[in-house]
């Protein structure tokens, strides 16, 4: 079975929401749609207070290169254009919409039929991805149309679909594969056509045998889709590690996957691509897991983007348990702790993970015993203990020389440290300081 070659850990999998079928989350009374739901600059609002909008109508336009369109997830009236604090407490420009009815744009095909044929040319596919505001749903929310516009002089050889879902607890990708295998395969075929590569490889961790079986069976009906079962090892789904596992290639320091001839997309993104290209449906919904050991029930939902965390929690489990320690957006290894439950969800949100006080507690830190476990767990072959010492002593230049910027923040070092040193926190701080230093030099 394929895997990446270096480092890695095996956290408890906790995929307890595996069997929960995708349910539809009802639409609330008011929606807040943030204008930057993606990597890069915020979109510019093109509606005004009092405007009527329909589901799928463009409300935020991408006016710079690294940006993505934003569409209305609901129908109703624009209440105001203001800022809104996101889940992590940062104020972002947003469009507030009062929901009235559920009127969709006429262009969107809402029939349940699956359309396989795609007659668009590669350039037209990319243009449509841009129009529909598709971004990568694996976490980084990189605008998809940029990824599929291969720059001059570079050549794509591999299309890799990330369905590893190596993060503990998350099951949204699994449910998409089980319930929408055919749509996903159509989406993959479209992306394959956009890139002009012979084969697409879908990497799935072997702890999802049902998804592997389902995808293998479905992929038989399509040309050039290969399912790659992967060893269960975190971070199998990290972009550079996945490329290494499937192709054996290594993406160099500061390089992009395309420099190694690879383009990687998340499996959830493929479903969104299908809906955008074949059904004219912009990215207005997320598939999201609501899970946690102390919750009364486990869920997977399809949620309109802009629904608040509180609304989702109220609908799924009523209220948070008394013993809640942290609420996390994403998995336990790389997810971010949510500060503000009033915040709306954004593109790319994959879960609301509720951790109990005990599970969420950090153990007290003690002296480094130089065991080297952090170094051997690091999938990038770095020295986390060294960064920790260098950053504490403000030796930023040396941290840069030791390739601190190669760190992918997967958390393996902190996870495996017997002295409980918050290595990943210190490295994040160090990376920011290195970037600030580099910016100051320019």
């Amino acid at each position: 079975m394929k895997t990446f070659r270096m480092g890695g850990v095996h956290p408890e999998e906790n995929k307890i929401s595996n069997d929960a079928a995708i349910e539809v989350m009802p639409v609330g009374k008011q929606m807040v749609v943030l204008m930057n739901q993606h990597l890069g600059a915020p979109a510019t609002p093109i509606v005004q207070k009092g405007d009527k909008v329909k589901v799928g109508q463009l409300i935020g336009e991408a006016q710079t290169f690294m940006c993505a369109n934003v569409h209305s997830p609901v129908s109703g009236t624009v209440l105001k254009i203001d800022t809104c604090k996101d889940a992590f407490g940062l104020a972002k420009p947003a469009v507030y919409i009062t929901v009235e009815g559920d009127e969709w744009m006429e262009t969107i095909d809402r029939t349940p039929d699956i359309k396989r044929e795609c007659t668009l040319e590669p350039k037209e596919i990319v243009a449509k991805l841009k129009e529909m505001g598709i971004v990568g749903l694996g976490g980084a929310t990189f605008p998809t149309h940029i990824k599929y516009s291969v720059p001059e002089g570079k050549k794509a050889e591999y299309l890799i679909i990330n369905a590893a879902e190596c993060e503990p607890y998350l099951t949204s990708d699994l449910r998409v594969m089980l319930e929408h295998a055919e749509e996903v395969c159509v989406g993959v075929s479209i992306l394959r056509k956009a890139l002009g590569v012979p084969n697409a490889y879908i990497g799935i961790e072997s702890n999802k045998p049902q998804a592997i079986a389902k995808m293998q069976e479905t992929a038989k009906q399509f040309e050039g889709i290969i399912i790659e079962p992967l060893k269960v090892k975190y971070p199998q789904g990290a972009e550079k590690q996945l490329i290494n596992a499937i192709t054996g290639r290594k993406v160099g320091s500061g390089k992009l996957p395309i420099d190694s001839g690879c383009v990687v997309s998340n499996v959830g993104s493929c479903f969104a691509v299908y809906e955008a290209i074949q059904k004219n449906k912009p990215l207005i919904e997320n598939i999201l897991t609501v899970t946690g050991k102390e919750l009364p029930s486990q869920h997977n939902y399809i949620v309109r983007i802009g629904t608040t965390y509180n609304e989702i929690i109220a609908h799924s489990i009523g209220q948070l348990p008394e013993t809640t320690g942290k609420v996390i957006s994403g998995g336990t290894m790389m997810g971010k702790a949510v500060v503000n439950l009033e915040a709306p969800t954004v593109k790319g949100n994959s879960s609301i993970l509720v951790m109990g006080e005990k599970e969420a507690r950090r153990n007290p830190e003690s002296n480094c015993i130089r065991c080297g476990k952090c170094m051997h767990a690091c999938p990038m072959g770095l020295e986390p203990y060294l960064f920790s010492a260098l950053v504490k002593n403000n030796r930023i230049e040396e941290a840069k020389e030791h390739n601190i910027l190669d760190c992918i923040e997967c958390g393996c070092c902190f996870f495996s440290c017997p002295a409980n040193k918050p290595l990943t926190d210190e490295i994040r701080l160090g990376k920011n300081k290195v970037r600030a230093m580099m910016a100051a030099k320019k």
């Binding site: 790389m334 003690s366 958390g411 002295a419």
Partner: protein, 317 residues
């Protein structure tokens, strides 16, 4: 609940802890301790108890009254030091008080003066051991004859290495004796099989890797083998070399000490190679019949350099 806790990722931790590692090392030392008690009797038990108790006590006293910080005796590291110190001295009645001085030097100078566990550049037990060897040369080289006894005044004899240094290996010492532990020597080093048992446990628990022990023992074997091939009269045969003296104990438990050995695998191989080479050099051309302690301490001093030179292979070049 009004406020949510926040922190950076990751939000989970493996169940690994310093305390677990140290207690597992202690567990791995138990077979060698049992062999020591079997062959050296009551003295072995008492020396071990006193050594461990005084290491723990000195650490507690220093943390409480000098450093004025919360005690860390429960992490089990002082017990490791105590056991290893006891393993490196002869199990005789006169060691009962000498080992207390060793414990004070090991914990006080070897470990706490640098800031405690994790900060010490040298293996604390070896610092204590070498201090005793230089300060009490007679007592530290008076070896009890193996054989279980409840008496405090056991008969004494030479170690195989000591005898060889003086002239020739005693005819009655067989390889099997060395393997099981029926030879003279420091109490923890005599039985290769007990030490290997502990080492296998540590390997399975991923507390040590094979690099240092294999490089150490392999280098000692090859180097002494070359010498033996050149002149079998004046050099000990390589198999006997690695099973007598402190090579097994040193390679499996002392050189592999996380704090004082390099982290990268390439560095560990160089470290083990250096230990093996220096041991054979000291044994054959030095003043002492045994050189494991000095070899490891010398290589400990090179560890920071090895950590600087030997980098893990980067994923992205």
């Amino acid at each position: 609940m009004n406020l949510l806790n926040i922190s950076g990722s990751p939000h989970v931790h493996s169940d690994e802890s310093t305390k677990k590692i140290m207690w597992r090392v202690n567990l791995a030392l138990v077979p060698a301790l049992l062999v020591a008690i079997t062959f050296f009797g009551i003295n072995a038990l008492l020396v071990s108890l006193i050594s461990v108790a005084s290491c723990v006590l000195f650490q507690w006293l220093i943390e409480k009254f000098i450093l004025k910080q919360p005690t860390t005796i429960w992490d089990g590291s002082a017990i490791v030091t105590g056991l290893l110190l006891a393993f490196n001295v002869p199990a005789t009645a006169q060691m009962l008080w000498i080992v207390v001085i060793g414990a004070l030097v090991a914990i006080g100078i070897g470990k706490m003066s640098f800031g405690g566990l994790g900060k010490n550049p040298f293996n604390p037990a070896l610092v204590g051991r070498v201090f005793l060897l230089i300060s009490f040369p007679v007592q530290m080289t008076t070896w009890p004859k193996p054989g279980f006894t409840m008496s405090f005044d056991a008969a004494t004899g030479a170690t195989p290495l000591g005898a060889f240094k003086e002239g020739a290996l005693p005819a009655d010492v067989t390889l099997m004796d060395a393997f099981l532990g029926h030879i003279g020597g420091s109490m923890g080093e005599i039985s290769a099989i007990a030490i290997l048992l502990g080492a296998i446990y540590l390997l399975c628990r991923k507390i040590i890797t094979w690099h240092i022990p294999v490089a150490f023992i392999g280098t000692a074997f090859v180097f002494s083998g070359i010498l033996w091939l050149i002149n079998p009269e004046s050099y000990m045969d390589p198999v006997m070399t690695i099973f007598t003296g402190g090579i097994m104990l040193g390679a499996c438990f002392m050189a592999t000490d996380m704090v004082t050995s390099p982290m990268a695998k390439s560095g560990q191989l160089i470290f083990g190679f250096g230990c093996g080479l220096l041991t054979i050099v000291i044994r054959n051309w030095g003043a002492y019949p045994e050189g494991v302690s000095f070899a490891i301490l010398i290589m400990n001093s090179v560890t920071p350099l090895l950590n600087r030179w030997c980098k893990p292979k980067r994923f992205a070049v």
